[in-house]
Symmetry: C2
């Protein structure tokens, strides 16, 4: 019996990533160190954090001058006004600003807490911002890796987001390259010959969540390799996953 | 170098599941047919659809008498009034009833489209309802499989849900048994020795999404086996993932 199987491999041994680092070269080195091969249609999932660091999307909080609005809200909620200021600067608009939570739409269109501005896994007093264009970042790293290994790849830049209605965070795809982020079943037949309606799976998000299981938060595994998933090749981008405000029932 | 690795194996060859079917026995048969072993700490993810069928959570639309409300809304949106009636019966309350979409809180507390009532992968004219108690279902199948194979397991009953703000669907955990649905990093140190805040990963949901990548919608793979994830053992339940209305910023 044919058994479908995925392998999900966590890549480690990365040095601290600083501005200008060549992520594809670091990923290739990690692959070689682990005696792994890279195969056609492998998928790499790369944590946003190292992409942001390589692209210099890092701020020192000491350099940030908080606005009166940021100061007021920070004081009322026991937050760092400089951090609040950075979050507001990174935001197109604020969806919720209550109970100490700042849920915003970022400049890029992502809806998440704190505009993706993050104080974890970075030196004290610094914060990382999201990459300026995660799709462009994904495309760049993918093309570099494809050249290095001579194969076709897909690459996802992932981050950790909360969601309404359900507790806990999950990883999602910010940037996508080399695949379409969805598998579309609309018009296909189910096992009874019935036509499937409205079933478009966000496989890029599911791949990001899959990768998180080997990444963790404390393990020093910023990249995962997923093998065995027959993803839909194409010129997809992570921004396609963002629902427009007009289509959204919950904005 | 130590490499962390997950394997995700799709199990197939299931017969059509009908009321009273012993799912653990069917899963064991699929395992043996594929010449697989079951190991300590393996995770099984089981599609809600076969759980519902085994538990008789199936209705014939011909037996449903739609209310005036269901008839009115169905007519206005080109829907089957009997299907709308079933959705409303399965719901505690309706969050959105517009643009042909019915987003509800189910009797069980899940927030999803159509209360999880589904016309796909079932004989024409019938619909499946969600299991009455997915945590109980998960516990039952897990215990049966643990007895059969003499190992400790975790088991997740999964379904496919939409979400606000992002296009496409992802699989989530309805029922969970043998593990806590979260990995909690609060108070742990990141790679810089900084303390992690508010980072509680919904790993049960991520495991459900992982499994979906080998399940698909048309492949006849209703169960996946995930090996290599060091999940937090404990008396967890899927209902812990449901955010209370009081804590939810988007209800």
């Amino acid at each position: 019996m044919a058994v479908s199987e995925l392998r999900v491999i966590g890549l480690s041994g990365f040095p601290e990533v600083s501005r200008g680092a060549n992520l594809a070269a670091l990923i290739a080195q990690s692959i070689w160190n682990a005696n792994l091969e890279v195969k056609d249609k492998d998928i790499f999932v790369v944590a946003q954090k190292i992409v942001s660091k390589a692209e210099g999307q890092v701020l020192k909080l000491a350099d940030v001058e908080p606005s009166a609005k940021a100061q007021r809200w920070a004081r009322d909620h026991g937050k760092d006004a400089r951090l609040v200021e950075v979050v507001l600067r990174e935001s197109n608009r604020v969806l919720r600003m209550e109970r100490g939570l700042l849920i915003v739409e970022t400049q890029h269109g992502f809806i998440c807490a704190n505009a993706g501005v993050d104080t974890s896994n970075i030196a004290s007093g610094q914060v990382t911002l999201l990459p300026k264009d995660s799709d462009r970042s994904a495309a760049q790293i993918r093309q570099d890796l494809e050249r290095e290994f001579g194969v076709r790849l897909a690459l996802i830049v992932s981050d950790t987001f909360g969601r309404p209605w359900r507790e806990g965070l999950v990883n999602v795809a910010l940037g996508v390259s080399g695949m379409t982020p969805f598998i579309d079943y609309r018009g296909q037949k189910d096992c009874f010959g019935g036509e499937l309606h409205a079933t478009q799976m966000a496989v890029a998000d599911q791949l990001a969540s899959t990768a998180e299981l080997v990444m963790g938060k404390t393990k020093g595994v910023p990249v995962a390799l997923i093998r065995g998933f027959d993803y839909p090749e194409g010129p997809g981008e992570g921004r396609q996953i963002l629902r427009s405000k007009e289509k959204d029932l919950f904005r």
